[in-house]
């Protein structure tokens, strides 16, 4: 039995192909375009190609993510909370708290021992608590996004920043740069700010070990470092697949 999960995110569309509800055989990640259906189809085709499987061999397609309703060829759709919870539990069964941080949204999901969702909390859509913050700031500091995450790890401390809003942080960062504050310290201040916001959402459901971080921002080591300090507990990343694929994996798991 072959199932495919497609997660149409605000920035990237991810697809995961699963065999017998247990084995990941292919996955792909493409930038979400204006036409969500097209993005979903392209991501699926690439994942199938990677798996060496034909489209007609797929038994079921499940869509999730903010653009889940614009995938007419999907057999079913599931909420982002369910997708991230299911995918997170599959990736690490000892997970009790899933923290998902995407480009525009973040959420905290609490899992029971059997993987069932006990509770969840969503943030108001705010760029300061999501990946968009690092995107905007990396652009201001003129460093590639990959390097932006590393910078934070090399810093000795965080720059003093008052802004909690990306719009205000932009002007604050400009003046920090003019004052010759090292980029490392600015990067750390921004990661701390995001971690602070994300943590305040997750605390609403309560933090229970193990904590698994998924979504695109989990790839940013500076954010993970700040989040560990903020939560004062160990946090894990999925080992079986990159963290941004977890919701698509969760969607593919819906037909076990």
């Amino acid at each position: 039995m072959i199932t495919a999960g497609i997660d149409v995110g605000s920035k990237y569309t991810k697809a995961v192909v699963l065999k017998n509800g247990a084995e990941i055989v292919g996955y792909a990640n493409i930038r979400t375009g204006m036409d969500h259906e097209k993005s979903a189809r392209e991501a699926l085709e690439e994942a199938l190609k990677a798996a060496g499987i034909n489209r007609d061999q797929v038994d079921k397609i499940i869509a999730t993510g903010f653009g889940k309703t614009s995938v007419p060829f999907a057999d079913d759709e599931i909420s982002q909370v369910v997708a991230a919870g299911k995918g997170g539990y599959f990736a690490r069964p000892s997970t009790r708290t899933v923290i998902e941080v995407g480009a525009e949204e973040s959420r905290g999901i609490k899992l029971a021992e059997d993987g069932k969702i006990r509770d969840f909390a969503l943030a108001d859509k705010c760029a300061a608590g999501a990946g968009s913050f690092t995107d905007a700031m990396a652009r201001y500091l003129e460093v590639p996004l990959e390097e932006f995450g590393q910078l934070s790890l090399r810093s000795k401390g965080a720059a003093a920043m008052n802004a909690q809003c990306v719009i205000f942080a932009e002007s604050e960062v400009v003046s920090l740069v003019h004052q010759n504050v090292p980029k490392e310290e600015i990067s750390r201040a921004i990661h701390d700010a995001i971690a602070d916001r994300v943590a305040s959402i997750v605390r609403r459901v309560g933090i229970e070990d193990d904590v698994l971080v998924v979504g695109g921002l989990a790839n940013d080591p500076g954010f993970i470092d700040s989040l560990k300090r903020e939560l004062n507990t160990e946090v894990y990343l999925p080992e079986i697949i990159a963290p941004e694929y977890i919701p698509a994996l969760g969607a593919a798991l819906m037909e076990e």
Partner: protein, 296 residues
């Protein structure tokens, strides 16, 4: 080339210097001054025995010290023969109030806005919405302008002057025109789906690509921003009379939408809504001076 220079300047709003020529400061017993050093604009107000005499309203520069000196110098120059030493008492307020070296005292902007709105709009004002460059404040006052309760949002650009500047720049429309333009729609469109200015910006770019006319985009944006402001107001509870101060009070598109959502009309100002904080500071300055004299 001319266009290239203009680009990115759509946020720029007109600066003002005003003096009431019918008054003579030499006849005044107490000359007091209030300076409101905000994140985006700075005002200096000079009052003669508690009456409005002169003011200046400028954009805040990168240095707080320079901004406060510049605005005071401008208002003194407009008056002509009044010197800084002639002023009996100076009170600083606003976000940068600690960086005004010639102020005798600093007072929070919440207290100053309450007092200033009471003077400008009259003692019937009970709820003041101050919409500044960087924050929103909902303030409840008594009949003397004394603050009885307030709520503040300083963590988010939604509904602030900064948020309006971002949109003016994005649509390349002068900031003084975005409000009236947003009302030129036959029917209100759905608001943009998020109040976060960062996300609203990308949503607006999408609407531009779709070919939406600018007035419709502005209407959708201001509706979302107004709903955010109304949320704050409803938490503190709106009691009439209601007044709006700060720079956004000049944006008819925001004011009308806030009024419609609340079902409450705001008092109409007949002066610059940006001076309320500085007026309050100058009034406190007069009171403090008189109190100090009594002690002696």
């Amino acid at each position: 080339m001319a266009e290239a220079i203009q680009e990115g300047e759509y946020w720029r709003w007109p600066e003002t210097v005003w003096v009431d020529e019918s008054k003579n400061w030499k006849e005044a017993e107490v000359i007091s001054c209030g300076i409101d050093l905000g994140s985006v604009s700075t005002q200096a107000v000079i009052m003669l025995d508690g009456e409005l005499y002169a003011y200046a309203s400028f954009r805040t520069g990168s240095s707080s010290l320079d901004s406060s000196e510049r605005v005071v110098k401008a208002v003194l120059e407009k008056i002509g023969d009044l010197k800084l030493e002639d002023i009996h008492y100076i009170v600083g307020t606003g976000y940068g109030r600690v960086s005004i070296p010639f102020a005798h005292k600093t007072i929070t902007e919440i207290a100053c806005h309450g007092r200033g709105a009471n003077f400008l709009y009259g003692p019937t004002v009970r709820t003041i919405l101050d919409m500044g460059g960087q924050d929103l404040k909902a303030i409840k006052v008594d009949e003397r302008g004394k603050v009885v309760n307030f709520l503040m949002n300083d963590k988010c650009a939604a509904g602030t002057g900064r948020g309006v500047e971002v949109m003016a720049d994005l649509l390349a429309i002068p900031i003084t025109e975005v409000g009236p333009l947003s009302l030129q729609v036959e029917e209100e469109p759905e608001p943009v789906s998020t109040t976060c200015v960062v996300f609203a910006k990308s949503e607006v770019l999408g609407l531009m690509r779709k070919g939406w006319p600018k007035e419709r985009i502005l209407a959708a944006y201001f509706r979302a921003m107004a709903s955010r402001v109304v949320e704050l107001l409803e938490r503190v509870g709106v009691e009439e009379d209601f007044a709006i101060t700060g720079g956004i009070a000049k944006n008819i598109g925001m004011v009308k939408r806030i009024e419609n959502m609340l079902g409450v009309k705001a008092l109409k100002p007949d002066f610059d809504t940006q001076i309320a904080g500085a007026v309050g500071a100058a009034l406190f300055g007069r009171a403090l001076y008189l109190k100090g004299k009594k002690k002696k």
